[in-house]
Symmetry: C2
Subunit: 367 residues, 2 copies
């Protein structure tokens, strides 16, 4: 099977597990997003987790979508303030736990939640367990870029606060697998985030990772472009940016904050004078397209990689449009058979790495 | 003397040492910037370092400014590709070395260079030496913000690739000193960059720094707002953002890259249709003001803190406008007596910290 093949023999309808609770805008926004996504995707059904009475009432207004939803009752809600440890010990009755359980029981291929990231990652790790061969799971995000597809992948953006060289190599393998199946790139280009592009720059673990990733490019069927800098995150010379979860999280939030700042300044500029207000009306179509290009809701969905099951984390503040984007991403990954391909990729890379260490080098199996 | 006093008894003209070479646009851009700045600042003179013949020729066209410049001949140039170690060993004949020497010899108060950052920092450390009490120098940058003054301070953005808790405390002290003298803030608010705002988040050294900085807020005469995230860099709830040089460098370049991406998308949007082109003409004034607000040239100038002398690092790609901004920043710092105030602040904080460790807490002297 060619590595970029999207056809994988999966048939039948895709089932997505959805945590209806825990987002800032409550279950109505989640059901709104689910409805938007369902209109565009005919072959998807949902298992919806949360308080049965409330969800039944919200779905009562939408007979078309209700027919495609199974409600799974869960009375508890994980709040944004809950500590991951508490949720792991006492969260058995929550909608978040229940949503993950549907993936664990193979009732659904992917789960989507707008809830507390730390709790969602902690629960996902203890309930789904790490994939064989993976030391540290990662959260991958999409980043608006100058590439033809419009997005780059960056990971880890916050699953953990550190990563050593072998972890960073696994991030490269998992990130390329995501780029193949989520963005349709046959041979992704990988860069390692650093404070300069010269080989001698950066921390010791980055120099070690630099060599490890370079040596694994053949086996992993990706191209390694070497070190990249913060300014390269939207660059067209790279598709997958690898970094530790601390740096990635700061970069992600810095980028979002900067885009928001420029957007606010732009709005002020158009409100500054009579002429500029007329200009805003004339340019409305173009400005709307611009807004869509940098709209964080369009890239909504951090994907948890490295577990026995795929979890899509939607922004806590996501509205219906944001939730719909996260659900469509979950659908795309489920449809491509991403989870099985990623598992095979990690396993074969570990095997190939062992073979290479024994002196030979072997092409990995397709993903 | 009150801590926010700008009047400090310094009199006479300010002398700034300028490295004419090493920038991407050559000495003409540097002399252009120097001319722009000199027009706006009557009480500044320059020592200009570089090849005498070339500089004399460039200055010949500008008699007004030539009278305020002393040329100091240096035949060598530090290129962007030169390794800091090489420059430290063999860079004695370079304009960069010579520019630092003028500060070392107290001929000039501040030096400005557009050259290679790594080499400039390495040379500055060996020639000027670290301030007593400072373990790790830092580079501070200005960040466009929603605060009334329009800027926040972030440090370290790349002097070093790591920082432990006592280093981060020193960054807080040096950053507040810079905010007082560079931005005129009487009591700056300090935040520590992390992946979340809850006390339990982040790496061990960040938790330790969190407690150290909190305990030093009284002595250091700043307010500590606790952990901040990447999205808070332009926030109005903080003035000085403290982080290690690896994270700060990635954040700085990510922010610049994002602003550039949005700017490019905006230009494309205005070129998309006939109507949007008309709109661009109508909104020209407002858009130019917007551009000025986010123009990286306006915030040009990373300041090296923690040495026996102040160095302003201009962007390598700075044009005349960028160089002028760096020179005006250097002038503001020189005029305020920043270097002496910073040295006193670091020394008194170290002393006060020792006193506090012995059980008492004492208000530091003004800066």
């Amino acid at each position: 099977m060619p590595p970029d093949s999207r056809e994988d023999g999966l048939s039948g309808r895709i089932v997505i597990s959805v945590d209806a609770m825990g987002g800032d805008r409550g279950p109505a926004a989640v059901i709104g997003g689910l409805t938007e996504a369902a209109k565009r995707i005919p072959d998807v059904d949902f298992i919806l987790h949360g308080p049965e009475e409330e969800l039944t009432r919200l779905l009562a207004k939408r007979a078309d979508i209700a027919a495609r939803c199974t409600i799974r009752h869960a009375s508890g809600v994980v709040t944004m303030e809950d500590k991951p440890g508490q949720v792991m010990r006492h969260g058995g009755d929550t909608s978040m736990w229940s949503a993950i359980e549907s993936v664990r029981e193979h009732e659904a291929t992917v789960a989507v939640s707008c809830g507390n990231t730390g709790a969602l990652m902690a629960l996902s790790v203890i309930r789904l367990r790490k994939l064989p061969g993976v030391n540290r799971p990662a959260i991958a995000c999409l980043w608006p870029s100058r590439n033809p597809g419009g997005f780059n992948v960056m990971l880890d953006v916050g699953a953990d606060i550190k990563a050593d060289a072998p972890d960073l190599l696994q991030f490269a393998l998992m990130g390329t697998s995501y780029a193949r199946n989520g963005l349709g790139l046959a041979r992704p280009r990988v860069g390692l985030l650093n404070v300069g592009t010269e080989d001698h720059k950066g921390r010791a673990e980055l120099k070690a990772a630099h060599e490890l990733i370079e040596a694994s490019a053949g086996i992993g069927q990706f191209d390694y472009v070497g070190f990249v800098e913060g300014g390269d995150l939207p660059s067209a010379r790279v598709d997958v940016i690898v970094t530790d979860g601390f740096t990635g999280n700061v970069a992600l939030k810095t980028g979002e904050g900067t885009a928001r700042l420029v957007g606010d300044f732009l709005r002020e500029a158009f409100n500054a004078s009579f002429l500029s207000k007329i200009a805003a009306v004339l340019a409305l179509g173009s400005l709307k397209r611009l807004q869509a290009r940098i709209d964080p809701r369009r890239v909504n969905g951090g994907v948890f990689l490295g577990l026995n099951g795929t979890i899509v984390k939607s922004h806590g503040s996501a509205d219906a449009t944001g939730v719909a984007a996260a659900i469509e991403l979950a659908y795309r990954l489920a449809k491509s058979g991403f989870q099985e391909r990623l598992a095979a990729r990690v396993a074969s890379a570990a095997q190939a790495g062992q073979d290479a260490a024994q002196g030979g080098e072997e092409d990995g199996t397709s993903e």
